[in-house]
């Protein structure tokens, strides 16, 4: 048992690392550094949101009240479930249950598609109501709410940009998990070498993290004082 483990270890160890431990540490740290750049990438949009929200608060309230809070909450739950299956998938790689890992990652992909499907329903709803920034933008409740449609358009610009960038990350995430499933099925990973599984997991959880903030900021601004 121990001998075969060491053989796998030597097979996967790249020459410029001292041991598997250092190699794994380096790989995972590189992923964290990438996620730091992602935090700053999304951070720019969050900063724009903060500035415009503080400037046109009532318009943002009016815009957020068109959101379907139940679809948003369902999607939050879907992503949390996907994070659980992802985390358990990584654990299966650690404990050498590769078949179970493949199953859990397929479940993760399924949750990913469920999220995108629900998001597509919401996007379609906004699109048919002309709630897309551009020459055809319309906001019927603007008069009643006493806000300028132009300012509500800023809310929707940020809504589409932030959720769109997040959805793009979901699409990339699904692609990455698919890659791990295929490579895992072919026997690429085991307890001594699962850095790609771990790192794709980190990416997936990061995308979940972004949504954890997007949901309250875009959907839950204010349910009552819309006037």
């Amino acid at each position: 048992m121990a001998t075969s483990d060491i053989e796998i270890a030597e097979h996967a160890l790249q020459h410029h690392f001292a041991d598997m431990d250092q190699q794994k540490e380096t790989s995972t740290f590189g992923m964290w550094l990438f996620l730091v750049t992602e935090i700053m990438f999304f951070g720019g949009l969050f900063c724009a949101y903060l500035i415009y929200r503080s400037t046109y608060y009532q318009a943002f309230v009016a815009g957020s009240q068109t959101m379907n809070i139940w679809l948003g909450a369902t999607n939050t739950a879907v992503l949390i479930c996907s994070s659980l299956s992802m985390a358990l998938g990584v654990r299966c790689a650690q404990t050498n249950k590769i078949k179970m890992m493949v199953v859990l990652l397929l479940i993760t992909i399924m949750f990913g598609f469920a999220f995108l499907g629900i998001k597509a329903i919401e996007y379609h709803e906004h699109w048919t109501h002309h709630q897309f920034p551009g020459p055809n933008f319309q906001f019927e409740g603007a008069e009643a709410a006493g806000v300028s449609p132009q300012n509500v358009q800023i809310y929707f610009s940020l809504y589409w940009a932030m959720t769109g960038l997040h959805a793009l990350h979901m699409v990339i995430g699904i692609g990455l998990v698919t890659w791990i499933v295929i490579a895992g099925w072919r026997g690429a990973y085991g307890p001594d070498y699962y850095s790609p599984v771990e790192n794709v997991g980190l990416y997936w959880h990061f995308v979940d993290l972004v949504w954890i903030y997007l949901f309250p900021l875009l959907y839950l601004i204010s349910k009552k004082h819309g006037g």
């Binding site: 500035i51 994070s83 993290l209």
Partner: protein, 104 residues
């Protein structure tokens, strides 16, 4: 033996499921809380819950709690710089009305 020692800490399945349950309860709480009129405290509560959720995801799902000090410091630095980006931008936008311009 040495290979065993090098392996990363394996977190029990029960911890993952427990964190998941807390995250689901917090999601329900934040939706419920949004229907209660709390004025300015609505956003404070929503962001506090979001931050608790984010912290749990980072510490346990992303294993930061069990990671090296280097990784922890890197994450803290990232949060610090994000805060810097937001805070310094707001020192401009929130203070524009503070000073009047005599003669205009």
């Amino acid at each position: 033996m040495s290979v065993e020692e090098h392996r990363q800490h394996v977190i029990p399945t029960s911890v993952y499921v427990g964190i998941w349950a807390i995250l689901m309860v917090l999601t329900a709480t934040t939706v419920f809380a949004s229907f209660i009129e709390l004025g300015d405290w609505n956003i404070v509560l929503a962001l506090t819950i979001a931050t608790i959720k984010a912290t749990l995801v980072v510490l346990f799902f992303m294993h930061l709690y069990y990671s090296s000090k280097l990784t922890k410091v890197t994450m803290i630095a990232a949060i610090f710089f994000l805060f810097l980006l937001l805070a310094l931008s707001m020192t401009d936008y929130l203070t524009r009305g503070w000073l009047t311009n005599p003669g205009h």
